[in-house]
């Protein structure tokens, strides 16, 4: 059975949802505490959403120094699939595993709504390019993705934008970026929450695409 680690930081609040989604797809969800210094033997790692360390200083800035993070970085550098959702995306930006940074939403409002996302760019273990549009929710205050011109040109040129808000970014994100990957494509940061839309009757099922892609990638 494939095993997926879900890291819990103090203030994570989507870790249980992420573990539930992983189990729905026949994989074992392995809870990992931020103070752990070794990653168990797993096939993928998820950094869930929430408010790690109360978002003190900057979102994800403190979590980035959690004892488990060097292990996550090592796993990523060996090509292991890593997904950071929402606050997990912010942590990935702070630790430098994915490009850019997430700023306060341009209209200064916490945004909690469904969004349409276009899947594009290079193939990753967490997405399938091809222009399919999926509808999943966002819930964030800091989702305005920003990168300097040079980084932006590189990211766009290499097909590292893998999820884009199809109807314009509600948070002001540059180029409507909702999700980006690293240069090799194994590490993905995604602002919306696929783990929340994996069961009919609870919002929708479009979030399944992300987990189906992982199942396929690990097959």
């Amino acid at each position: 059975m494939r095993r997926v680690a879900v890291v819990t930081f103090p203030g994570s609040n989507c870790d249980a949802d992420a573990r539930h989604a992983v189990r729905l797809f026949g994989m074992e969800a392995v809870p990992v505490w931020h103070k752990d210094t070794a990653l168990p033997k797993v096939d993928a790692v998820i950094l869930p959403g929430g408010f790690s360390y109360g978002d003190y200083l900057r979102c994800g800035a403190i979590a980035r120094f959690s004892p488990i993070m060097p292990e996550v970085v090592r796993f990523a550098s060996q090509g292991g699939p890593v997904l950071g959702i929402c606050n997990g995306f912010q942590v990935l930006c702070e630790v430098g595993l994915v490009p850019g940074v997430l700023l306060r939403n341009s209209k200064l409002r916490f945004l909690c709504q469904d969004v349409n996302l276009r899947m594009e760019g290079k193939p990753t273990p967490w997405s399938r390019p091809g222009g399919e549009t999926i509808r999943i929710p966002i819930a964030h205050m800091e989702g305005h993705w920003f990168a300097d011109d040079e980084t932006l040109a590189r990211v766009e040129g290499e097909g590292q934008v893998i999820f884009r808000y199809a109807d314009g970014a509600p948070n002001g994100a540059m180029r409507d970026v909702a999700g980006v990957c690293n240069a090799s494509g194994n590490v993905v940061g995604l602002m919306p929450h696929p783990e929340r839309y994996v069961e009919a009757g609870v919002g929708g099922t479009d979030g399944r695409r992300v987990f189906e892609a992982l199942v396929e990638a690990l097959a």
Partner: protein
Amino acid sequence: MRAKVYVTLKAGVHDPAGKAVSGGLQSLGYSEVKEVRIGKFFEMEIEDRPDAEARLREMCEKLLANTVIERFRVELG
């Protein structure tokens, strides 16, 4: 020894909160306010050592500032 660190947004980085404060000041009648950019100020008590400034700058680069969007200035003593 006392150390002060100022972290401010780089030019061109969107600051909606600064904009809101600027609008607030203007609506209070301070029409001279053209722009507000919000940053962070850290007051720190640190041990005196010869490489204090270099280490302080290192702290800024590693944690206190995100150099993708922010610049920093340190003052010692």
